[in-house]
Amino acid sequence: MRCEEMAERIPELLGGELDPAAVAELRAHLATCPGCAAEAAAFERLWDELGAAAEGTPGPELRERFERRLAAEIARERRRVIPFLARRAAARGGRWWGLPATQLAALAATLVVGVFVGSELSRRRDASAMAALRDDVRSLRETVTLALLGESSASGRLRGVAYGREASEGDDRVAGALFEAMLADPDVNVRLAALDALKPRAARPEERPRLIAAVAHQDSPLVQLSLIDLLLESGAPAAQRDLEQLLDNPNLDPVVRGYLRDRIGRSL
């Protein structure tokens, strides 16, 4: 090796780009060339020194700031994406082609009941018959929602959420199924869509305890943040008090804790 080759070889050595044979060749040259050896030693010292940050190590507050920012970005993203997912699921639910067998069956059942409803309407033209038919329709919606929420594909379950959205306010079974989906569906998007569908019920005092408990037990920070938003946006002072108590829960995810502290701070 010639001394002139050092201009490329030293950066390669420092950058770890030389294979063992090339390193051996370089070291052999350095062993016989005091000038290159001194230069290489000086460069290696500088390289090591450069590797230490000028201002030590970043403080823990950098991570905390980042996590808070990330949580805010995720919450913003969720607000943007979830209505879109729900609309898309609802739109796709209106087409029969390309749907799995269980959904086709559900649609066929809709059709059968529709015909039944029509014939019943013509046969029973009194108020009690209308009430009975409304129950039938509600029951059908409930059946379709529960069937779709049991789909193996996330897109199928999202359609279930879209079907159940309208019924959830007045139908406890549908609300219960949506609550279960929000708690433990394998897909976070389904959980978030279910939570969004439950929004009209969030202001009810009797719903608050299980929603608060869901914050603590939820394993997805994204859903936890959304639950916090939902509870605080319900405007109930008791919801804020209950959430404040969660800050004492040692198992609460640190990101969620930071976000909750920020949100409560802002709403004080």
């Binding site: 390669e12 420092l14 500088l46 450069l50 700031r65 990330l70």
Partner: protein, 190 residues
Amino acid sequence: MATSADAETSDAELMARVRDGELERLSELFERHHRRLYGFFSRLVGDRTAAEDLVQEVFVRLLKYRHTFRDGAEFSPWVFGVARNAAIDHFRSRPRELQENPEAPEPAAHLPHPIEGLERRERSEFLQAALARLAPERRELLLMARFGDLRYESIGELLGCSAGAVKVRVHRALKELREAYAVVSGEVTA
């Protein structure tokens, strides 16, 4: 940037998941890379607060521009491209900080310290002062080579030149840095 050998998911795979909607996975990338980025920025700007702000800015940009991360792309060159742009924007708003300063002040006193920690701090200050004497593009190149864990070929792609040219420039930058260090540390007179 090197991925730890035992990491289950590569940096590129993680970034692809962030791009596809698993935004919370950015937290793992932050854990893997924020110290290295902090090292790069703290040497580049010489200020702890500014370096932390820039690290934060890089990760915000990763989130903002996540859709531009292509399948099959390497993470490190991409993130250092983002870091460079963040640094450029930082200096654009503070042009005096970027200028080459041949008269960069030598650290106040450099009497021999008996305590190793103080000596290390003193060497670090000499190095920071020596870096400030380099032309901005040399300083950036050297820090990218040191902190980016990038192959010279990748640095060449970022800078628009060949890997060979990058190696020669790194060698020159090291020589200049060594000379500047000798001056600021009092080993030789300027």
